[in-house]
């Protein structure tokens, strides 16, 4: 099979996998919404430029796309596990080396190229189109910004994908080597932060955006090719059958969670998190990055926008981000695993929410540190109330809209819009309420009953949906 045939077939496969889940229109609308959001965000650029140090917005955008690339690359490999449960391994072209005369290197090459092109069209190009629209009305955005961003954000994104593939190749050879590589990256990051070298000098795609010249772009391309080349050259796929054995933990954990409505389900959730790739650490780290960004932005913003209560805003946004724990909890099983047993979707959802509530101790620990850091430890109570309200409400909205499949459903344009529309007003209301007095954010606790009602209704709704459509 020629490389071109495989590449085209993989592109079609990726499209059909998504359109099967959301419908052609539902998935096609996703980049359109991204364009609209980017255009709206462009309108706010003059405000950001006025209150933030120069270069912060463009640096944040490039870092965001680097991380987006890493997550697309990671999902391309690790997320296959999730897709396999839905579609079956044999249905994916990535596994065709088992049955067709194609080498794994050819497959991974086509796979990387496919991910780069497909997700560039779905993630990068629409956002840049939005900026291009914004540049028509916002004087602070030059007309040259959009074409430059198309290249520089694209390079950031591809760098992220190539890095994820490179790290996955390292992992395939030795998980210990991956830990060493990550440790090295963390140390390099810390040294860079201490050195005081501007990000625009060190991060080549951003260097290209801030001072357009061929050298940083060419260097970026070379690094991307080097990482991808090493990934392909040292590829090590042997579809290993693990022979590892595990002590039975279910009865012990079920006794620990005896106070929940379904101790065995809750115990299973924690076993899934512990035994799947990355262990419990993946939750903390996936959460750590956005939380660190918010922390950093609020630390800066409090000096530029007087009257803000940064601790309270941190708590509000922390509540929203915490709801992504629910996505982790639902990543490792589908309801079909239980459909033939005497349980309903609503019961499984309830158990997942109990696991979710237990995991909420992690963000509460963050809150305990953050509130004194932002200046007034007495604000812990209103911050906790706002956090608890948002955390439960946001997860309630997720359950209502997506049931047990948020990782899939939130890519549906309509569902994603409803999700934003249901959560954003309450985030803004609480932020505005906290401006005259941070104590008014205590009103966030009123979202708890709303969240609980949404969880109950969502469970019923998705039980009925499963019975109609299974």
């Amino acid at each position: 099979m020629a490389f071109g045939t495989l590449f085209t077939a993989m592109l079609k496969e990726e499209w059909r996998m998504h359109s099967t889940m959301f419908g052609d229109l539902g998935f096609f609308l996703f980049p359109v919404i991204l364009t609209v959001f980017a255009a709206l965000a462009s309108l706010a650029v003059p405000v950001f430029i006025a209150v933030m140090p120069p270069g912060t917005v463009s640096a944040a955008a490039h870092l965001f796309y680097l991380i987006a690339g890493v997550s697309v690359g990671s999902f391309g490999l690790l997320g296959r596990e999730v897709m396999n449960r839905r579609f079956g391994q044999a249905s994916l072209l990535a596994y065709s080396s088992r049955s067709l005369p194609i080498s794994e290197r050819t497959i991974i090459g086509a796979f990387i190229l496919k991910d780069c092109l497909y997700y560039f069209l779905f993630w990068v190009a629409p956002a840049v189109a939005g900026v291009a629209i914004g540049s028509l009305v916002v004087a602070e955005i030059p007309f040259t910004a959009a074409p430059l961003l198309l290249v520089s954000l694209g390079l950031s994104f591809f760098l992220g994908i190539a890095a994820a593939f490179f790290l996955s190749t390292v992992y395939a050879w030795s998980p210990r080597a991956l830990a060493t590589a990550i440790g090295f990256l963390v140390i390099a990051g810390v040294l860079f932060a201490i050195s005081g070298i501007p990000l625009a000098k060190a991060f080549l795609p951003l260097t290209f955006y801030t001072a357009p010249a061929p050298l940083p772009a060419v260097m970026s391309v070379l690094i991307i090719l080097l990482l991808a080349g090493i990934s392909i050259a040292f590829l090590n796929i042997d579809f290993p059958e693990s022979s590892r054995r595990y002590r039975s933990r279910l009865p012990v954990l079920a006794r620990t969670f005896a106070m929940t409505s379904s101790p065995c389900f809750v115990a299973k959730d924690f076993i899934d998190l512990r035994r799947s790739d990355g262990g419990m650490g993946k939750i903390v780290f996936s959460f750590l990055f956005p939380v660190a960004i918010i922390w950093l932005l609020l630390t800066i913003l409090q000096y530029f926008i007087p009257g803000l209560a940064p601790g309270i805003i941190f708590a509000i946004l922390l509540g929203v981000f915490t709801s992504t724990f629910y996505n982790w909890l639902t990543e490792y099983d589908l309801f079909t695993t239980y459909a033939f047993l005497p349980v309903t979707v609503a019961q499984v959802v309830r158990a997942k929410i109990e696991s979710y509530l237990i995991l909420n101790f992690i963000p509460v620990l963050f809150l305990l540190v953050a509130i004194p850091f932002f200046g007034d430890a007495r604000l812990f109570l209103p911050a906790l109330a706002a956090f608890a309200g948002l955390s439960l409400y946001a997860v309630g909205v997720t359950v209502y809209l997506c049931g047990l499949t948020p990782n899939v459903m939130l890519y549906d344009a309509r569902t994603f819009l409803l999700y934003i529309a249901a959560i954003a007003p309450f985030v803004l209301i609480l932020i505005f309420l906290s401006i005259p007095s941070p104590w008014y954010a205590t009103a966030g606790i009123l979202l708890v009953p709303a969240g609980l009602a949404l969880i109950r209704k969502g469970g019923e709704r998705h039980t009925s949906f499963a019975e109609r459509n299974f």
Binding site: R244, S248, T337, N469
Partner: protein
């Protein structure tokens, strides 16, 4: 009325299921008595799995009614699934539980009191004790099939609905499972099994139904066919090709 005493453990009246424009089950009638080992036969895509999902309340019918052990499976699906055992066609056990943890998990949902003894017995009977501490995702297909078989009978249900129970099992294990099924029915229980392997039905079933494109073409017994000097395979192929044409 739910739970009413009936001579039938499974009753389907004008049972119909449509998925959009596709008619998966086209208004079938089924009545299966206690103590039967009933085989539902049909080619791939004939609607066998949908019928098992309808009978176990996993999916709601478009029309008609279905009662399992006297319980309306459409109105009370969880109650219907409580008293029965099910082996689904494709579903696999959760990836990150060990085989033993999965049996304990199902045992907890089904309130099995003697789960320890049950686990020991099944691992020994189906000869897969080696899999006990391995993750379900790392098990071979045959071992997963054994695990799914064990979970269906863990609570000793009076009725079990099993979809392709012998798939992926070696001949020795197939014999063991067939003997188990016959003994289980001999003890007064009922088995409803779906298969496209005609030899299994001919060997162990007391009643059969032949399904094609969602329609029931025949209900009777292998013994009946033998009396008519009909070979099940020839009878099946004639019936299906006649219906398809």
């Amino acid at each position: 009325m739910d739970g009413e005493i009936s001579e039938y453990v499974i009753e389907a009246r004008n049972l119909r299921k449509e998925y959009g424009e596709v008619v998966a089950v086209a208004g079938i009638e089924l009545a299966i008595r206690k103590g039967e080992l009933y085989g539902l036969l049909g080619p791939n895509g004939s609607g066998k799995t949908t019928i098992i999902r309808l009978l176990t309340g996993q999916v709601q019918p478009t029309a008609g009614s279905v009662r399992v052990m006297g319980i309306d499976a459409a109105a009370h699906p969880v109650d219907a699934r409580t008293g029965i055992g099910v082996i689904p066609e494709q579903e696999t056990p959760p990836s990150f539980l060990t085989a033993e943890e999965y049996l304990r998990f199902v045992g907890d949902i089904r309130h099995v009191e003697d789960i320890e003894e049950q686990c020991d017995w099944w691992f020994s009977y189906l000869d897969f004790d080696d899999a006990r501490t391995r993750l379900c995702k790392d098990l071979s297909r045959g071992t997963r099939q054994k695990l799914m078989f064990a979970q269906a009978f863990l609570h000793r249900p009076p009725l079990a609905l099993i979809d392709e129970p012998l798939i992926n099992l070696d001949p020795v294990m197939q014999r063991k499972v067939k003997d188990f099924l016959m003994d289980y029915v001999g003890a007064g229980n009922t088995i409803f099994l779906s298969t496209h392997i005609l030899a299994i039905a001919e060997e162990i079933c007391t009643g059969i139904a032949i399904l094609n494109r969602g329609e029931l073409l025949f209900t009777g017994s292998p013994a009946e066919l033998r009396e008519r000097h009909e070979d099940l395979e020839r009878f099946f192929l004639n019936l299906i090709s006649g219906h398809t044409e």
